[in-house]
């Protein structure tokens, strides 16, 4: 009996360390200046999946992502760290999808992969911080979920036991398969790349990438089919186009405002002894401190 773990991962712009060059002169976000990275909590999710794989003989970790063709980068990254196979859902028709439309597409792709035991995703992606796609996908697949997983306690082929974060504490829960798990950033960090895996998968590509790179080593991919990262379009997952993109997204962005900081009257000070002392005296006299 095989044991299949599907990991959902997303490539995101690194919004955490937005420097000055990340904003254009007109105040809009300069996406080009933000590097595309493996969503941090999806790396925790990958590690969680790999820990399950370590404990269950013959378990297979499949990484599934949705995005533009270059999102194949994170699939390769996942394989360097221990995932066995990757799939990229990519199609212009997905553009503008909100979390509901995204989870619809992902749930169809997961169904196409066939039966599975575990569906693992990071709690949320840093470009949206919604924490919605994992639970929404679980609902569409008709499976229960364990959110905010922090630690794998026990796992066998029948059930899994997990410690998870709750609002003011922790909870240990168990469930039989299939089950969806969203992994919290406080879970174990992902193991680094494995040198052998790096060698094994460094030539793995999607068809689009092969075309773009004008590579002609068809033989290599025939003899080693696992190197091919499959790309699935709307047609491949048999999705209803109306349920995707802007038409399939109940949430619409009405307006976007770039953040303009409203200046209020503030006193500018230097760091001299006198200035700091005067400030502390002012705060003490005003009963703000002391």
């Amino acid at each position: 009996m095989s044991f299949k773990i599907v990991v959902l991962a997303k490539q995101v712009p690194d919004t955490r360390n937005v420097g000055k060059d990340a904003m254009k002169a007109d105040g809009t976000v300069n996406r080009a200046a933000l590097p595309a990275i493996f969503n941090p909590e999806d790396l925790n999710a990958l590690e969680f999946a790999l820990q399950v794989k370590d404990k269950i003989e013959g378990a297979e970790v499949i990484i599934l992502t949705m995005g533009p063709y270059r999102a194949a980068e994170i699939i390769r990254e996942a394989m360097y760290r221990g995932a066995d196979k990757g799939y990229l859902i990519t199609d212009r028709k997905f553009a503008g999808s909100d979390t509901l439309a995204t989870s619809y597409a992902i749930s169809l792709a997961v169904k196409k992969l066939g039966s599975f035991n575990l569906l693992v995703a990071g709690r949320q992606a840093i470009d949206g911080d919604t924490a919605q796609v994992g639970p929404q996908t679980a609902e569409k697949l008709g499976i229960p979920q364990i959110a905010y997983a922090e630690k794998l306690i026990e796992v066998n082929k029948e059930e899994i036991t997990i410690k998870r974060r709750i609002e003011r504490g922790v909870e240990t829960v168990s469930a039989k398969y299939p089950i969806a798990v969203t992994v919290h950033g406080s879970a174990d960090s992902c193991r680094p790349r494995n040198a052998k895996k790096l060698m094994q998968f460094k030539h793995s590509r999607t068809l689009t990438e092969l075309k773009n790179e004008e590579r002609e080593n068809a033989e290599l991919y025939k003899s080693r089919p696992y190197l091919m990262i499959e790309e699935w379009s709307v047609a491949d997952i048999k999705a209803d186009v109306e349920a995707l993109g802007l038409s399939g997204s109940p949430t619409k962005v009405k307006t976007i405002e770039n953040v303009v900081f409203q200046a209020k009257e503030s006193k500018s000070l230097g760091d001299s002894n006198q200035e700091v002392e005067d400030l502390m005296i002012e705060l003490i006299d005003g009963h703000i401190i002391g």
Binding site: P13, T15, R16, V18, P135, G169, S266, S268, V276, I288
Partner: protein
């Protein structure tokens, strides 16, 4: 039909959570504007008398689902009950706390009802919308306003075509206010008999223990918070020194937490805790809007930053241009010298 629904969460002590009372208050304001009712949903076990913590916030109806399978919270069982009630009642707006539970159960409901959900809203207002392309106009939509893209933009989200319009809001973002101490509504008991299938109860709780938050940032009148600009965990120790001298707590921005300078539980901002202290000292914090969302109602703000043009300085009462490691020791020294 068309009312505003609030999912009321329970604390470990089976009280209504603060965030839910904040949402009831917000819901009441929106309902008055729209001329509709506020209805609360409470799901759990052993809930007799719980309505006393709900009606004073202006709820017209409380739906109570009381069953041993509904406590403690599991997302499967709570989602099933919520979906059943919302399908039956067809509200126009449903609000959830952006808590661990609210963010667990909310997306499942939005997915089942095929409607829009906006997470972590910082403001909710009623407004109209004109879709020029489709030549359609909409009256009285819920504008769901939230920072996005790392706090660099503020997005107003609407769901023109689907109901309910669902939003989650973090604790502390909205104000909690008793609407009328004598306010009385109607109790509707919701029976779960025959509703819950095995799959809804598939997740078994083996053990839970409550770890009260180790730090009480929310309750602190003085907060010394550090950002990426503090530079190192060593420099961060200075913040603890200052907080201890002033009798305050230490907070951190997301960038500082992500860099490992401070633990997660100290994070202030849209994805952390919202605070309103008497004094907020922002050290090496540039002031992304997501951080500001969690602290901009502080009564006094001091910023210490090497960058005179740091955005945080625009909301600071005092902006000190200098290095955190130079300024903090001076603050400690001159506080000690001058305090009575």
């Amino acid at each position: 039909m068309n009312n505003i629904f609030i999912y009321c969460e329970l604390t470990e002590e089976l009280r209504i959570a603060d965030v839910s009372q904040e949402l009831l208050t917000k819901g009441r304001t929106l309902a008055n504007e729209l001329g509709v009712k506020v209805e609360a949903i409470v799901i759990g076990h052993g809930l007799s008398g719980i309505e006393k913590e709900i009606f004073p916030y202006g709820a017209d109806v409380v739906h109570i689902a009381d069953d041993k399978n509904l406590s403690p919270f599991t997302s499967g069982a709570h989602a099933k009950v919520l979906i059943a009630i919302l399908r039956q009642e067809e509200p126009q707006i449903a609000l959830f706390g952006a808590t661990a539970n609210g963010r667990d159960v909310g997306p499942r409901i939005a997915s089942a009802l095929k409607c829009g959900l906006t997470a972590d809203c910082t403001s909710l207002i009623i407004g109209d919308h004109e879709d020029k392309k489709a030549k359609k106009s909409y009256k009285n939509l819920l504008y769901q306003i939230r920072p996005a893209f790392g706090g660099n933009i503020i997005a107003t989200i609407i769901n023109p075509e689907t109901k309910p319009q669902i939003a989650t809001v973090r604790e502390g973002v909205m104000k909690k206010e008793v609407y009328d101490k004598q306010y009385k509504g109607e109790i509707k008991n919701f029976s779960v008999e025959g509703l819950l299938d095995d799959i809804d109860l598939a997740v078994k709780i083996i053990e839970r223990h409550i770890e009260p938050p180790k730090v009480n940032i929310k309750g602190s009148q003085i907060i010394v918070a550090g950002g990426y600009g503090v530079g190192s965990p060593e420099n961060f120790k200075l913040l603890y020194d200052l907080a201890s001298v002033l009798g305050g707590e230490v907070g951190a921005s997301r960038a500082a937490v992500d860099s490992g300078f401070a633990p997660h539980e100290r994070q202030i901002g849209q994805t952390g805790i919202t605070v309103r202290p008497k004094l907020y000292i922002a050290c090496g914090i540039s002031g992304a809007v997501q951080h500001r969302a969690g602290m901009d109602e502080s009564s006094q703000i001091i910023s210490i930053n090497i960058d005179e043009a740091a955005p945080i300085n625009n909301i600071a009462d005092f902006a000190i241009t200098g290095r955190v490691e130079d300024v903090i020791p001076k603050m400690i020294k001159y506080y000690k010298k001058n305090s009575k």
